[in-house]
Symmetry: C2
Subunit: 129 residues, 2 copies
DNA sequence: CGGAATCCGATCTGATACTG
DNA sequence: CAGTATCAGATCGGATTCCG
């Protein structure tokens, strides 16, 4: 398993350059629903419907799409049990679990700053009007 | 300055619930370009054009839109100097700076996992085809 | 239960042109 | 320099329907 030499090289050529492929990945994991799904999943293993209940406000379509994307990127693993009715379980892969701390921090940041940001928005909008 | 009691309450009712307003905020800061702009800005103060050069691949329009959003949310501050030609400087607000560690970690994670994710995608697509 | 497929309005985004 | 305005193509995302 090639563990590529991390951000050392990048850090030397330019202090803050990001490859366009990294941007692509940021787009995926930065997605509102992806963050939310990773956060809710945590260390657990959940079925589709359980996830849907956990990720409040997500539509079935978006949950499907989001999970497919995360699975494709190797962040979420999907296990299908060949029974009737179908049983499908989702959990984070080891790689996905390495995101957990950061995502948790981000989600908690958002939650902790709801009021201040709401306030900032109101102030900004008032200034514009 | 009201420093609202953080995630304690939330953590007790349900282990992983996120308010819909927090989701809204996640949507903003999780945005690919927002993350990127925050990352590039860092502790610096940069002009519009400098930012545009730093955030590789962003269009002028998206930089404008992104900055407006971040400014509205109180994450970025915008200073206009009434000179000709115009001079506008952007920097993170104190609140924005509290995001820096997390955003940096996320961006570096993406950068460090480009290869593995690319590989996972190829494997996934091959399985499907 | 866990989707896939389709439709369709809403939103996003790049390109281009113009401006104080 | 630092935008705004506008338009057209692309994408998103919810609602609905159907299926093994």
């Amino acid at each position: 398993m090639a563990r590529p030499a991390p951000s050392e090289a990048r850090a030397q050529e330019s202090p803050h350059s990001v490859s366009c492929r990294a941007r692509d990945i940021l787009g995926r994991i930065g997605d509102k629903w992806s963050l939310y799904v990773i956060f809710v999943l945590g260390e657990q293993t959940l079925r589709f419907t359980e996830l849907k209940r956990g990720v409040e406000g997500i539509s079935q379509r978006m949950l499907t799409v989001t999970l497919r994307g995360l699975e494709r990127d190797g962040i979420v693993s999907r296990t299908v049990y060949p029974v009737v009715p179908p049983r499908v379980e989702y959990s984070l892969t080891p790689m996905g679990r390495t995101l957990l701390d950061t995502v948790g921090t981000l989600v908690r940041w958002a939650d902790d700053h709801v009021e201040r940001i709401q306030h900032a928005r109101t102030a900004y909008d008032a200034r514009e009007a």
